[in-house]
Symmetry: C2
Subunit: 192 residues, 2 copies
């Protein structure tokens, strides 16, 4: 065998399944694609699919950026307001996004928007962002459920961010995402 450590078989299977699933969703639609078909084209049984993804929807729904955002928010100076902290953290996070990451995000959100059964779940995705924001905004000593004030601000920020991202994806990524984020946060600031 060749030298380096290749990804485990499990990881390869998972990647293959996801790749094929997204391609099929794109080609023939989400509803029209059955898990059985995805598994078949990947050369595995349908059970293998469910061992890698808890549900068909999870192939599309996933967001790995929230932990990063939580850290970035916590890194902001406490002297500025909560919304400002989130705003700045999001911009910093965007700068760290590579071109390919950005393209993958665009493709995933675009797919989400085009699938009626999943469109409503965008807010679910948003919910995990909100949780991350809550953790990032909570005072250091705080434990347990965050206060209503923190939750309200986190909810507002994640909703505003979501609006910007959706706008970006609907415009096929032609507009600058950071610019749209700025615009959305500016709108919130102006409307309070």
């Amino acid at each position: 065998m060749s030298g380096g450590s290749r990804p485990s078989k499990s990881q390869r299977t998972r990647a293959t399944l996801q790749e094929i699933a997204l391609r099929l969703f794109d080609e023939q639609g989400y509803e029209a694609t059955s898990v059985a078909q995805i598994a078949q084209e990947a050369g595995v049984s349908h059970m293998t699919f469910f061992r890698h993804f808890p549900s068909k929807e999870e192939v599309v729904l996933e967001d790995e950026y929230n932990p990063l955002l939580e850290e970035l928010i916590r890194g902001q100076p406490a002297t500025v307001s909560g919304v400002e902290r989130v705003h700045a953290a999001v911009l910093t996070g965007l700068e760290r996004l590579g071109e390919s990451d950005r393209y993958a995000l665009l493709r995933r959100v675009g797919l989400l928007l085009s699938i009626p059964a999943l469109r409503s779940r965008i807010d679910e995705n948003l919910a995990s962002a909100r949780t991350a924001f809550e953790r990032g905004l909570a005072a250091d000593g705080e434990d347990g459920t965050p206060s209503l004030a923190v939750r309200a601000v986190a909810a507002a920020c994640s909703a505003v961010l979501s609006a910007a991202v959706v706008d970006w994806a609907q415009g096929e990524g032609e507009q600058d995402l950071a610019g749209l984020v700025d615009e959305a946060f500016r709108a919130l600031r102006g409307a309070v």
Copy 2:
């Protein structure tokens, strides 16, 4: 051709199904309750259930207050900020809520919170509120998709309202809902 409207029986069946479903969800859990069981206890076939509710989830997910809110927002003076208009409209709407309506809302949101499969859908429920807010906030001449600014503000407001309602339901309705709404909007104002 005589075509009268005679809707009575259908409405009774629907009400019975909903009543029994909510009771069973409460008694034995959402997952543990099958549509077949609901139908059986209601003395109808499972097809009748699906003729009245597009899905099992829809029995719990429903919100009839959004059109009212849209109207109330539009009725606010354009001289105040967007967030202020929504805030005031929500308070007015709450005043119009009767005691029984309030209790029904509390029970429904409480059930939503206790059902893992539906908990994430709270935001979906609020998505329709967001749409109503967008319509209420949009300038009169505007048509088609609202601007990013309007969408961002509407998203933030619906998210803030959601946080307050969830807080209220989690506290078993012991706190004053209007007070919590005030607190949440105040937090947003203070964090911008």
